[in-house]
Symmetry: C2
Subunit: 323 residues, 2 copies
């Protein structure tokens, strides 16, 4: 996965180059802080990868990629307030380190800075890139709202869940890929296929995240085992279990997902229910379906197989992390 | 002031025409709610007025004007959370009526919608209008951050105060006016003079607001008398008093502005101090200076005096409300 490192380094260097030095520091420092918490930089990396399918000199795409990363971090800043999350990547969230007002206002400014990162593009490119980005920004807000709505809703359907994660996760991946194509002035069909590829990949990625939370090797995954069950999060596993279970099993699931206690018994019982209902296998099948669809889109793109190789490797990295 | 009514009606009609009907309702309804709380619609109105200096058919400017109003309401939504304000224009604020999470996320979406209102412009106009708007958006965030900083700061200077209100109030007025000129494809110098006019007008307007809070006929103003003194807000009157006062008077001012009690004695003493120090007269002189500077900018604009007449009337309306 050396190529990933190459792209990530470009993003890290750009974050340094465009570090915020404006005043007042109370507004701009938290933006630097969150951008320095690290992470895979997946979204800007795939923008550069998409661009690279069509053009070699990455320079014209770097600021757009950075804009995507800014946007992602803006959404994290505000989501963390809404989710009352104290930690992110093991460090204090912005509203914990500073305060909530600062996290709101810095987030707002970071959203504006995200859009501004497109301003170097010529007018003919700037407008479609902005339109794609603003459309995506609304989809991400909608996804976050659905996610909050689902906390109060016991009958989330499979379709509603896919719609929510499409907004919350997949749209920004799709946007990043399509924007890479737009900035490279690739033809429209290639751009559209990259967008569709991104949507399917993003959904598969989120489903895998849900799967690994419970069925992953949690020492490899690096997160708390079954954290989603502890927090009563209605992931795809819960939704499939509700779909597959009989009345008694559904009632049992409801019972545990209404309880606020963190008991070993809770995790044990819910995981057993998931396994009894073959929810793990069904989830892997779904991931497989979405991956297949993503691959179909990738195939249609008019770039050499050699150039596409990085994308195949990326998919392996993201989706076969372990299973 | 019939012309104001004409422009305002266009904005009100546009708010109805572009009412948000997207899903989920939890995200979009609060945006409709805040836009229906009313107000003077001053910012979009002056955009249309500026456009009208150069072109007659207002239609191409309406969505840009609406974008400015969306932005203003986004900033109100988030500011109300930060200021813990329960009421706005006598009605519940968004975070009071719904909840804080919704006010954060709906505000975010409204900010995106504000920028999207420029998307109908052709690419050659869209880019400069977006750049002006995004620059302004950051200035407004900076102004709000300075305003929050000043709550903890007892030595705010005159310069710092003017810088803060420039960001928080004047920049958006200047942006609205310049954008009207840009959309009308006026020449660069006229656009720049309208921008400068807006900055000076916006500052004068905010200073008048500070003045009227204490020295206005509060039945006309329609706000609580000396609300700023009750809330220990460091307005221009406080800053001038600190500048003019001797050590004893400054200490007295500090004493009252450190107290959280709402006493008649507090208002009485502070107002007397302001009067002893001629702060009321000094403030009116400042307003006069900024108004003069605004008028100078207006004079330079290459439109007929007849066309400028609305602007003179607007200034009378905004600045000689009573004094």
């Amino acid at each position: 996965m050396g190529f990933l490192k190459k792209y990530k380094n470009i993003i890290e260097a750009a974050i340094e180059e465009y570090k915020f030095t404006d005043q007042p520091a109370q507004l701009y420092e938290p933006m630097n802080y969150i951008l320095h918490l690290g992470g895979k930089r997946l979204r800007p990396v795939i923008l550069l990868m998409a661009y690279n399918l069509f053009k070699d000199d990455l320079k014209p795409a770097v600021k757009a990629a950075l804009g995507i990363e800014y946007f992602h971090n803006f959404s994290l800043m505000h989501d963390d307030i809404m989710d009352r999350a104290a930690l992110r990547r093991g460090k204090e969230t912005v509203h914990t380190k500073y305060d909530e007002n600062i996290a709101i206002l810095s987030g707002d400014a970071l959203l504006v800075k995200a859009f501004q990162m497109l301003e170097d593009l010529n007018p003919a490119l700037f407008k479609p890139c902005f339109q794609l980005f603003s459309h995506t920004a609304l989809k991400v807000c909608e996804g976050q709202q659905y996610d909050m709505n689902f906390e109060e809703q016991n009958d989330v359907s499979y379709g509603e869940y896919i719609h929510m994660i499409t907004g919350k996760t997949a749209e920004l991946c799709a946007c990043a890929l399509k924007m890479g194509a737009l900035v490279a002035e690739a033809d429209e069909e290639d751009a559209e296929n990259l967008y569709e590829f991104g949507l399917h990949l993003g959904i598969a990625f989120q489903l895998m995240d849900d799967y690994l939370d419970v069925f992953g090797d949690y020492e490899v995954v690096g997160k708390k085992h079954a954290g989603d069950i502890c927090e009563n999060k209605k992931t795809i596993l819960y939704i499939l279990a509700k779909q597959q279970g009989n009345e008694k099993q559904r009632a049992e699931l409801d019972f545990w997902f209404d309880s606020k206690e963190e008991k070993t018994e809770k995790i044990h019982t819910v995981v057993k229910l998931f396994k009894d209902l073959d929810v793990d296998k069904l989830c892997l099948e779904l991931i497989n379906d979405y991956t297949e669809q993503a691959l179909n889109c990738l195939e249609k793109i008019t770039a050499s197989e050699e150039k596409k190789q990085d994308f195949y490797e990326l998919m392996d990295y993201l989706l076969i992390r372990e299973s």
